[in-house]
């Protein structure tokens, strides 16, 4: 028992730009990536992959490989069929969904080029690769479904046994669910004296391209089987290993050590993990598989890949009355863990920040003989945001208004929150006026518009364009009951434990699984504030199912808004749990105690005691009240009551050389409203990185297949990731409308930049050359595509890349 010191109140950690705890090991090369781990007797695996997009396997000769020096064993799909389990889709979007069985190692047929067909296990990685060259596989090549639109017509079947390429049909209809009028009515009204805009946009196929190639080690020695994997989802992986391979969950430990980026690309249970699992169990020795970059690009799932058919209805004054969306979404050869759920996540986002009377979203995920497609940063929401933000610019042109003004005319006003949208989501808070005003001021909007006019009037060879994206998104996946209604296979809660160690240190365990986000820092700030302990005394443990036994991992901008709230609940439980003990030691009544700045004090006296002292007293357990257990640790599971709805205004100025089609980014400004900010430094990093991934979709990246279904952008030579020399520095700022549905008032930020940036850039480029007859350029907007659009537009004909009115009987407009 000590008297209260005149210590100054600890400065709140939340809101401080703390330097990251993670960095020390990362900047000194003392990191534990999966591929850095080596175990005694560990064997190495190489995978033989299909060169064909679609073929029947007619023979596999493993003899030569098996006889090679230092080869331990060789496997094909038939040998592992009974033990390798299957890869599942956790979100069947309809009960009737049709998805092919996905064996980790192909058994009798391959459905995409790059699919694993055989494996070789050797004493060294080099020997495994050498021997893999000796595997002789005979194929009977089958016709492949490659083009998304043709695949949707079932011209060629990706999986003949299914009888169709269509996985499902999923619809959200505002009239049907009672959240708005019938879409056909408002389109009919608009055709009669209003404005109807019909467009077809292409969301090209992207590759997440995390910097750390995936790696997995399975150690079957000992009582438990341990898997180390470069994954975003150790908990989900553990559950699905148990569910599909028959090993009791309690015998499985999955560890995601330091993980080098994911962006949704490591939100997957992979063939490589499952094969390594089966092979290690078969052999009884630890086995490692680390992919090459080329393998990663062809085998790790891709993202986006949609055709979007859009009909926007508006009054002649420019008030939008409704939008009809028809999506074709390429799933690739297999339906991944989220699968058709990815485009469906866009269903609530096409209406964005706007107030409409009617809305209909129709989505058909389609199988093709290409690499599978699943979550990539934003997952469904960038695609939706792109479509609506492009259309708002088109509407502004039709009406003859400034594109910011047309948005303001249609968006939800700040005093209208909470607002239930035409899609049926209730946005808790936001202030689009404030974010836009700030962004405009930072950007120098009026001056740039004036310069644009001057250069246009002058006929400058290099034209200036201004692109706008006033985005919102739904993130923080997710309220479990909502997921249940959507047939998702799991909940959306998150778990946390707070352990008060006798030395005064605090061990915090989270079910979120960071891979670059800085949880160790931001979560320490939250707990330090809540418990009133020093930031340095908090240790965040994560990513190991043996330490963090319960969790739903990291994706969908959920770690802070869901996982952070679990921390708050657990910390609050510790405070409550320790209170009777503190009262006992202070010889006071529980009712007279108050807690603040890490201390219990007896109201009206100078008596008090720090929570660390209570922790030590709990450890000793020499003196504690009857009826209480000697422990003050606590755990908690938080289930969010709503999604989180960050928003922001992104403004991009781009210059287009009308003679060469070269695009130069001149300025990029954004003002995001992500509610209360825990660590502004970490937030800035998330925003910058997100913006560049969004810009990269607009300007550089595309997964390209040739006519035989080979990924020709299958290395970093061909898949164009931006470099430091391609990009610019950004100006970012924030407005703050705290979330009203969680205690910290936070909203997600991980995906915001990526969601917002793509339409801002495309709108800027189109704005620069619209007066030359261009109203669309297919992404990525290469100089060649811009130049071609300019040639077509200059002659007053439809541009080659333009997506013109579609719905009935017109041809592929690519």
């Amino acid at each position: 028992m000590t008297a209260v010191q005149d210590a100054p109140a600890a400065s709140p950690e939340i809101g401080r730009d703390r330097r990251r705890k993670e960095d020390q090991r990362l900047i000194t090369g003392r990191t534990r990536w999966t591929d850095n781990i080596s175990l005694p007797g560990m064997l190495h695996m190489a995978i033989v992959r299909s060169p064909h997009a679609h073929a029947r396997i007619t023979g596999i000769d493993l003899d030569a490989a098996d006889k090679a020096i230092n080869i331990y064993d060789v496997f094909d799909g038939k040998k592992l069929q009974d033990t390798m389990g299957v890869l599942v889709n956790a979100w069947p979007i309809t009960p009737e969904q049709q998805a092919p069985t996905h064996y980790p190692l192909a058994v009798d047929r391959v459905a995409f080029a790059g699919q694993p067909v055989a494996v070789v296990v050797a004493r060294s990685a080099a020997e495994a690769r050498d021997a893999a060259e000796l595997v002789d596989i005979e194929y009977d090549v089958l016709p492949a479904a490659l083009d998304l639109k043709e695949a949707a017509e079932d011209k060629v079947l990706a999986h003949p046994d299914l009888g169709t390429n269509k996985v499902a049909f999923w619809q959200l209809d505002s009239a049907g669910q009672g959240s708005g009028r019938a879409i056909d009515e408002v389109i009919a009204e608009a055709r009669d004296g209003g404005i109807v805009i019909e467009r077809e946009y292409r969301q090209q196929r992207l590759i997440p391209a995390f910097m750390e190639p995936r790696s997995v080690i399975v150690d079957p020695t000992g009582e438990q089987i341990t898997m180390w994997s470069a994954t975003q989802i150790p908990h989900i992986t553990r559950f699905l290993l148990a569910a599909t391979t028959g090993v009791p969950e309690s015998k499985i430990r999955v560890i995601a050590p330091d993980v080098g980026g994911g962006f949704g690309g490591k939100l997957q249970t992979t063939p490589e993990e499952w094969i390594t699992w089966a092979v290690a169990r078969w052999i009884g020795k630890p086995v490692k598989y680390t992919e090459t970059r080329s393998e990663s690009l062809v085998s790790a799932h891709h993202g986006r890949d949609q055709w979007q058919r859009l009909t926007l209805a508006a009054t002649k004054e420019g008030r939008v009355t409704g939008l009809k969306v028809d999506l074709l979404a390429d799933m690739g050869a297999y339906v991944g863990v989220v699968g058709g759920g990815v485009p469906v996540l866009g269903a609530w986002m096409f209406n964005a920040i706007y107030k409409w009377e009617a809305y209909q979203f129709n989505c058909t995920p389609v199988l093709t003989n290409k690499t599978w497609v699943d979550a990539y940063r934003g997952a469904g929401r960038p695609e939706a945001t792109y479509a609506v933000e492009r259309l708002m610019d088109e509407l502004a042109v039709e009406v003859g208004m400034d594109p910011l003004e047309i948005r303001e005319m249609n968006w939800i006003k700040h005093e209208e929150f909470p607002f239930t949208t035409v899609a049926g989501m209730t946005y808790d808070s936001g202030n689009y006026e404030a974010a836009t005003a700030k962004a405009k001021e930072m950007f120098g909007y009026d001056a740039l518009r004036a310069e644009q006019k001057e250069r246009r009037d002058r006929g400058d060879r290099v034209q200036l364009g201004i692109g706008i994206s006033t985005f919102t998104e739904m993130c923080g996946l997710a309220p479990s009951r909502v997921l249940g209604q959507l047939n998702y296979g799991a909940g959306g809660w998150e778990h946390a434990t707070v352990r008060m160690l006798p030395t005064g240190k605090v061990e915090v365990i989270t079910g979120a699984s960071a891979h670059g986000q800085g949880h160790e820092t931001a979560f320490s700030q939250i707990v330090a504030d809540r418990l009133g302990v020093p930031f340095e005394d908090v240790e965040i443990l994560h990513g190991d199912t043996q330490v963090s036994h319960k969790g739903l991992d990291t994706y969908g901008s959920r770690s802070l808004v869901v996982g952070g709230e679990a921390l708050v609940l657990a910390a609050d439980k510790v405070i409550e749990k320790a209170k009777p003990l503190a009262a006992h030691l202070l010889e006071a009544n529980v009712e007279d105690l108050e807690f603040g700045n890490g201390r219990y004090s007896v109201r009206g006296t100078d008596q008090g005691m720090g929570i660390a002292e209570v922790a030590l007293a709990t450890f000793a357990a020499h003196n504690y009240p009857e009826g209480m257990e000697p422990g003050i640790d606590a755990e908690s599971t938080y289930d969010p009551i709503n999604f989180s709805f960050p928003h922001g205004t992104h403004l991009c100025a781009a210059e287009v050389d009308t003679e060469t089609g070269q695009i130069t980014l001149r300025k990029y400004v954004c003002c995001d409203d992500i509610g209360n900010i825990i660590n502004p430094l970490i937030v800035s990093g998330q925003v910058h990185g997100g913006i560049v991934q969004g810009i990269a979709q607009a300007l550089w990246e595309e997964a390209v297949y040739d006519d035989s279904g080979t990924l020709v952008s299958g290395s970093f030579v061909d898949y164009l990731l931006p470099t430091a020399a391609d990009t610019i520095s950004f100006e970012i700022d924030h407005t703050t409308s705290p979330s009203t549905t969680n205690t910290l008032g936070t909203k997600g930020v991980g995906e915001a930049g990526t969601i917002a940036a793509t339409p801002a850039v495309v709108n800027a480029v189109v704005d620069a050359i619209r007066h030359l007859g261009v109203n669309d350029i297919v992404m990525p907007m290469t100089p060649e595509r811009v130049w071609t659009a300019l040639q077509g537009g200059g002659r007053g004909t439809a541009t080659v890349e333009a997506a013109e009115p579609h719905f009935e009987g017109q041809e592929d407009s690519r």
């Binding site: 990362l26 000194t28 090369g29 913006i691 290395s715 970093f716 950004f730």
Partner: protein, 164 residues
Amino acid sequence: MTRINLRVDQENVSDDVEPRMLLVQYLREKLGKTGTVIGCDTSNCGACTVHLNGRSVKSCNVLAVQADGAVIDTIERLADDDGTLHPVQVAFRECHGLQCGFCTPGMIMQAVDLLNENPSPTEHEVRVGLEGNLCRCTGYHNIVKSVLYAAELMQGASKEGANA
């Protein structure tokens, strides 16, 4: 197998290696220098950047046998023996120049070389100087800021040194 002798992170080492073994494989597999990582197979990403005789190289682009007799420095010995960080390391932490950290060892080693060659680069010079190193997390904004800040730190240190 070929015998090579070289000095890595201030230690003399010697091994028999296959002629095809890459320097990065030698560092990681033979010496356990896992601070240096492999991010691609086409010499595009720069994650494996180390210093060979004081200049940055992509260690996936050098055979171990080519490094025979060379002095190699990796991220693992960039800080002083007493743990004092190199100014570039300090700057990356200070300016949040890393997120997942996978590209960071290569990025830092490249930045050190860049600043050795050009102690006060412009933003443009930094961007061009880092062109061979890919990062997927940061959008490069804070990496560029880190290198410019490191230049300031190093200039400050050299001025102090001159005044002393």
